[in-house]
Symmetry: C2
Subunit: 157 residues, 2 copies
């Protein structure tokens, strides 16, 4: 676990530097492939005006740029805190194969970062969620999937 602790220390150092540098929330993450860090991320929500700029997403985007691919197969991610639902989703879409985390979502909640309500919302039927969710124009949208399925040029991902 010595190597893993080194990568996690880097993620935690990024989180700490982000607080002391007044750049954003207390979160850091690194993506590792073959024993090398290929992407680093800090939380940049408030500095970049981007609610999706959580540490994990920033690290994943940087790692993909480094490898010139949209797939992080064979990679691991080290996050200073258990990922929120958005970031956990991004980890699955990226194809990352192992997740290391340090603080828990309960620790984050104590610092006023609460994502448990988002996890709870996911488990509810759409008509019970806090954000009203309305379906429109189903038939027109399905037609686009038909176009995709019959296209010769599609790149599956």
């Amino acid at each position: 676990m010595e190597e893993q602790r080194r990568f996690m220390k880097e993620a935690i150092d990024l989180a700490r530097d982000n607080v002391h540098g007044k750049n954003g929330g207390p979160f850091g993450a690194v993506v590792v492939k073959d024993g090398q860090i290929i992407g680093r991320g800090i939380n940049q929500v408030t500095t970049n005006n981007d609610p999706t700029a959580h540490a994990e997403i920033v690290a994943i985007r940087e790692a993909c740029r480094a490898l010139n691919t949209y797939s992080l197969e064979g990679c691991e991610i080290f996050s200073s805190c258990e990922p929120c639902p958005m970031c956990l989703g991004s980890i699955y879409w990226a194809g990352i194969e192992k997740l290391y985390y340090a603080a828990t979502k309960d620790d984050a909640a104590k610092a006023d970062f609460r994502d448990s309500h988002i996890y709870e919302e996911f488990a509810l039927p759409k008509d019970k969620r806090r954000i009203p969710t309305i379906q429109l124009m189903h038939k027109e949208a399905v037609k686009v999937f038909d176009d995709w399925s019959s296209s010769d040029h599609k790149i599956p991902y």
Copy 2:
């Protein structure tokens, strides 16, 4: 619903253009505030080598740039397809107040875009998930939250 149908048509047109322009997956989204489209998104996963570049995330980031803020309070999102867990998470973090969708995740699955396994993983305890998930260095990471909580410069989000 006439105005809402107009915005959804725009989202579906973006999705269709994305297929025919060979840019990426068959998904489009628009963010609307006060009756105006302030962000447009198409799926750019394969063209931009970015697994997080789903239509909703691209539209949210564009809307935030347009408003120069990380909060989309007072905004609605129109997505050509029911959002995946990553995108649904981003909609909550952005503070979007209403979600309109057209195709369902079952329609998406028929076109080989499957996110139901991600929703299922979320409901599992961490040690039962497909991606091995390991905790390390808890104490060191909690200390960063203490630094955040005692900082005079933090911007809550």
